[in-house]
């Protein structure tokens, strides 16, 4: 293998490691061997080969693809020149810079047609034509938002829908499906523009530099409090797989744990294989202890995303508990258990919960004190000696009464009690954060992202 290529490979794998993928030496050797087996001029084969050897978790796919595009770009340099070279005679044509309006028309046709390769070529052209701007005298840089703002593909939706439906009924299934198709293609195009901008930047400033800044954190590591709508949607999609993983791990742990009384029947049956001598004894499994779960969560604006995600997870894990009851509050508290029917749609339940439940009593700003008092007063039977109490919230109390005494009684009555706080622990107690008042009464756990939540659930679930 040529030295240049090997250096490139090592640098690429190093960038993957920096981005958080674990690439072991054994895998590097595999990748190098794979290089010898495939046609190196086939870029997609190269991508697949690297993916097969070093990419072992689907969550890392986006990062991998982005870095691969940076380190092994499909083209280099100015696309106008490339198009001319491809045409062979350098005649002016598609490569010429156009007016934004002309670009928009071209984009509309491409989105309607959906040809990926043509779209990618077009993305190169528009970035060349519209993406450059001066950042300082004599310095230029590339920007994807300049391109996307001037083209604003979303505004083409109406005209694209008209063309795609061709006189079919509006408002029904056909429109929904067409809309989905167009949205997918627009998203694809946006990603192509962003990838192209990264490529041009990397050519100007060096690949290492760009690959360090461009990597996005994984959805499960994004802070709940800072998650975008896309991040939250991605997280919600992971709730059921996550719950399933947790449940499997639990059953495995239970099976491996201490076993109970001798299972006479199975032991005798097994002894038949050894001529009636019971060489191996079999035991009945212990009946697992299943606690009741009571979730009391702050659903006010700032922490709603966190509360929703955690509620969804609690309901996905319902089988692990004898009973799950949920209470929501903003400045007063209401039971929301009934919104979550078995087999029902949790996202739907959350929407209904926020519109129908009585959560606001005074001004709609978080009031932990009043909510806790109200909870203890209206639902005295909710917390008992078999209950695990879970409080979700950032304890940002707007300098109001904390209800710490009531909380203390609740904690004493319960079997376990935990407070999950989505704020970084460094900020606890600053400003209107009332964590100080609850300190020592209840164990407060920092749960900033899905990874931390998974760890927590694993720790507290019944053994």
């Amino acid at each position: 293998m040529a030295g240049g290529l090997l250096d490139r490979e090592i640098a690429f794998l190093d960038a993957l490691r920096t981005a958080g993928l674990t690439v072991s030496l054994a895998e590097v050797l595999d990748a190098t061997r794979a290089m010898g087996a495939i046609d190196l001029l086939d870029r997609e084969a190269l991508r697949a080969a690297y993916a097969a050897c070093v990419l072992k978790r689907p969550a890392h796919r986006t990062t991998f693809d982005m870095l691969f595009d940076l380190w092994f770009p499909a083209v280099t340099g100015d696309p106008t020149q490339i198009e001319a070279d491809l045409a062979g005679d350098g005649e002016p044509g598609e490569g010429e810079p156009l007016e934004p309006e002309a670009y928009r028309d071209a984009l509309r046709d491409l989105l309607l047609d959906g040809d990926e390769e043509a779209m990618r070529r077009f993305a190169r052209q528009v970035v060349q034509g519209l993406g450059r701007a001066d950042t300082a005298p004599g310095r230029q840089s590339w920007f994807s938002y300049r391109v996307l703002r001037q083209l604003s593909p979303e505004t083409l939706m109406a005209s694209l829908l008209g063309a795609m439906l061709q006189g079919q009924d509006r408002g029904g299934l056909a429109e929904k499906v067409a809309r989905q198709t167009i949205q997918e293609r627009i998203k694809q195009f946006q990603e192509m523009v962003e990838a192209e901008v990264r490529r041009r930047l990397a050519e100007d400033r060096g690949t290492e530099q760009i690959s360090k800044t461009a990597v996005q954190p994984l959805a499960e590591q994004v802070d709940f409090l800072r998650a975008s709508r896309n991040d939250m949607a991605e997280l919600r999609r992971q709730v059921f797989p996550l719950a399933r993983r947790l449940a499997t791990r639990l059953t495995a742990r239970r099976r491996l744990g201490k076993t109970g009384k001798l299972d006479f029947r199975r032991t005798v049956r097994a002894s038949l294989a050894t001529g009636g001598v019971p060489l191996v004894t079999h035991h009945k499994p212990h009946k697992p202890h299943k606690p009741e779960l009571v979730v009391l969560c702050d659903v006010s604006g700032s922490v709603a995303g966190f509360a929703h995600f955690t509620l969804m997870l609690a309901y996905a894990l319902r089988e692990q508990f004898t009973k799950v009851r949920a209470f929501a509050f903003i400045d007063t508290c209401d039971e929301v258990t009934d919104y979550f029917t078995p087999g029902g749609d949790v996202a739907d339940a959350l929407a209904r919960m926020s519109s129908e439940a009585k959560l606001v009593w005074f001004d709609g700003h978080s009031d932990y004190g009043h909510s806790i008092e109200k909870f203890a007063e209206d639902y005295p039977e909710a917390v008992g000696p078999r209950t695990s109490l879970l409080i979700l919230g950032d304890a940002r109390n707007n300098y109001r009464a904390t209800g710490a005494q009531t909380l203390k009684q609740l904690v004493q009555r319960s079997r376990h009690a935990y407070w999950l706080n989505p704020e970084p622990s460094a900020y606890w107690g600053s400003g209107d954060s009332a964590t100080g008042a609850y300190e020592g009464l209840i164990e407060m756990v920092e749960v900033r992202n899905a990874v931390q939540l998974e760890d927590f659930v694993q720790r507290i679930l019944p053994q």
Binding site: T22, S24, A26, E27, D30, R33, A34, A37, I38, D39, D42, E44, A45, R47, A48, A49, A51, A52, C53, L55, K56, P58, R61, G114, G171, G172, L173, A174, K176, V177, A178, Q180, T181, E184, A233, R236, R237, F240, P241, R244, R245, T248, R249, A252, R255, A273, T274, G275, G343, G344, D345, A347, D348
Partner: protein
Amino acid sequence: MLQPQFATVDDVQTRLGAAGYLADHAIATTVFLADRLGKPLLIEGPAGVGKTELAKSVSTATGSELIRLQCYEGLDEARALYEWNYKKQLLRIQASKDDDSWHDIHDDVFAEEFLMSRPLLTAIRNPNPTVLLIDETDKADVEVEGLLLEVLSDFQVTIPELGTIEATRRPLVFLTSNATRELSEALKRRCLYLHLDYPDAAREKAIVLSRVPEVAEQLADQLVRTVRALRALELKKSPSIAESIDWARTLVALGLDTLDEEAVKSTLGVVLKHASDHERAATQLKLN
């Protein structure tokens, strides 16, 4: 010991195509590498995207024997690797005459005749081309992974009474997993990895057309785009390729040639298997 079955990546693609599996470039390259490097291939992905089918098609395409080990909770060495046939051994001992020495019986009882070969050992001993499919690896207990590590890295099995058995011809190994639990790093490191996801629209359409040739192209296009719209919703279980194919078959059987609201509403049960998903799809796609 390594005898590659495929010449090039294109060769993989054509021969899999002939076996009825439409592999895209990435899949074909990965299978090619697994064959060339003689490494096991771990395939992960949601249910119903054709993980098991890929292994079966490779065995058809190469004319290899398919040996399948289905994993489940409580699978152990005795059922995955080999087991001594106790009953037969007992019979042999009871049938022995008095003048047989202990030494003779001992040697005799632990002979080939009393060994029951299970899938892993069978695959290793097979002198003919073999595809070993270890299905749903994530369902098995963690100890089984340890067993697999030994078998898959050296392709040899040590039986204390018989000695070490080495593969005369390395089987092509496929492991599948639904990712209900994370497999150990050690196992992943020894395997090539392929994540099979829902295919892009063009490939899914081609798959539907090849599996259900009776379906009109126009309808297949509509169906694939509707399935993609369903996948974009936040559903408990997104429809997979298997469901798209079932749906196409249903529509053909019902003699429907266009997929309008009425048709979708009456056949939605084929693609969505949860009541809550049904309701959600009905409201979001405005079927009422």
